[in-house]
């Protein structure tokens, strides 16, 4: 470390830094989260007849994107993959301006992104509301029956001990800790939603990728686990029913730039028709337990379903 021998110089360094930052910030404008990050791999636009497919930084989403990619390649399209782009604010602008053409998405989560106050909860309602809420230039193709939505889960033992079948049954239990991704704390279906809709009081702990492990270990009693997570079955978890519709249904749906929608519709709709809930879970099992790559998993799935 630099030995700043004089605290006065240290202070002048800090002052210089602060002034520079404030001066520069006066020149900046706009929301740093809305500026649509650089497209990965240098921001080049693909050739006119190439379909560019993106994916979220979520392994399961990457598998679906790879399935789309290989299905299109089998139908003689040229495909460019730009996977693991991360957050919606990073890739939605790229979808709108055509840098990315196709993206596997989830109806409920995407609807909440565009319309946070939506009241639609069932699968069909959500799909219809989504079609309306999307900006011009974006379309959704047919949704698959496969879902991957947030769901509240408890261990089988805990469910038996407290006789739980639905979220409402949690109402009287003290000392509940809810585990999930950090942002769950602020989501409408998070602790505040549990309180308002079901009268369930929970403390929150951000558990991220270790959520299921923490639930199984007993550090948290309730966990938000994606419904297609294979560990719900392998770790014997019980998904609590949601009669009051705290969670929106969230089916897998292809989000496309309107310009290419017609070109790819046939191929991709066929894929969506074949993607069942059990099928998606099986794909995730291959990724996490068998540790296979998305490319291999996609290849086998397409072969099994006669789509490539």
């Amino acid at each position: 470390m630099i030995t700043a021998r004089h605290p006065r110089r240290l202070a002048s360094g800090v002052a210089a830094l602060a002034v520079a930052a404030f001066a520069l910030s006066a020149c900046s404008s706009g929301d740093p989260l809305d500026q649509g990050g650089d497209t990965p791999s240098g921001g080049s636009t693909a050739a006119a007849d190439t379909i560019v497919i993106g994916s979220q930084a979520y392994y399961s989403n990457e598998i679906i994107a790879e399935i789309y990619a290989q299905a299109l390649e089998a139908a003689d399209f040229t495909v460019e993959r730009r996977f693991n782009i991360g957050q919606r604010e990073a890739y939605l602008p790229s979808l709108e301006n055509g840098e990315i053409d196709l993206f596997p998405e989830y109806t409920g989560n995407l609807l909440q992104y565009y319309d946070p106050d939506t009241t639609a909860t069932t699968s069909d309602d959500v799909y219809a509301a989504l079609a309306d809420a999307l900006p011009d230039g974006l379309e959704v193709l047919d949704q698959a029956s496969a879902t991957d939505q947030d769901s509240y889960n408890v261990t089988a033992d805990f469910a038996a001990e407290h006789d739980l079948t639905s979220i409402a049954d949690l109402a009287g239990i003290d000392g509940l800790v809810l585990g999930g991704a950090p942002e769950l704390e602020e989501r409408p279906y998070g602790p505040s939603g549990l309180q308002d809709v079901y009268g369930v009081t929970v403390a929150f702990q951000a558990t991220g990728d270790t959520t299921v492990d923490e639930l199984v270990a007993g550090n948290v009693q309730l966990a938000d686990v994606y419904s297609a997570d294979p560990r719900i079955q392998t770790d014997d978890l019980v998904t609590l029913e949601d009669p009051k519709g705290l969670f929106l249904a969230s089916n897998v749906v292809p989000l496309v730039n309107a310009k290419v929608a017609d070109e790819v519709a046939d191929v991709i709709n066929a894929v969506s028709a074949a993607l069942t809930p059990e099928g998606l879970v099986a794909l995730n099992v291959e990724s996490t337990q068998d540790q296979r790559s998305s490319a291999d998993i996609a290849q086998d799935w397409l072969a099994q379903n006669d789509l490539a």
Partner: protein
Amino acid sequence: MSLFADAFAWIFSADRLTGSQPLPFTVGQHLYFTFVSVLVAAVIAIPVGWLIGHTGRGREVAVVLSGAARAVPSLGLVVLLVLLVGVVHKTAAAVVAFVLLAIPSILAGAYAGVRAVDRAVVDAARAVGMTPWQVFWTVEAPLGLPLLIGGLRSATLQVVATVTIGAYVGLGGLGFYILQGVPLRRFDQILGGSIVVVAVALVLDGVFALLQRVVVPHGVTAGRAALQDDSASRRRSTAGSAA
């Protein structure tokens, strides 16, 4: 400008005292992890560094270790150890990662501090009849303190940065606000969290800078001042004679 205004509003909002990570609690949590890790690393690395510096043996190992440790990605190490150890001992696993990342700087600081002592001074101490033990504790260690503290300073700041990243494995700490703010699209939270963690880092750096000054033995400071007076008066007399 308004971005910073929003961020400061976020920092000083009353909501910062509620929720799963109240701000004062999180700052304390962050400092706690930092101090514990640096302390453990110091307990391990200072004796070893002193030994290497005093005996002169094993210094190449120390140098290679410092160099190699710089190449280890801190996010990867934290994720790896937490994944290996499991959730029951998640905090301990993360602290082990922090300790491993802190050791090289402290080791280098302890070693360099002892080595930087003028050989003539060490010889003088031996000539006066001090035992090796006495030479070490009354001459080498005190004179090497500034560089040792430099190493501790370096290690502390590296751990502060790694604890920030440690929020990714659910450790809490000031990185939580940044990682939660991204999916929630709240830039005031991201910037607010950034400002707080940067402020903490700067304050710690300042504390260490002062410590490095304070720790220099009186005799050394007096000696340096005498030298400066000496050379200044010599310059004045030379200039006079040239005219």
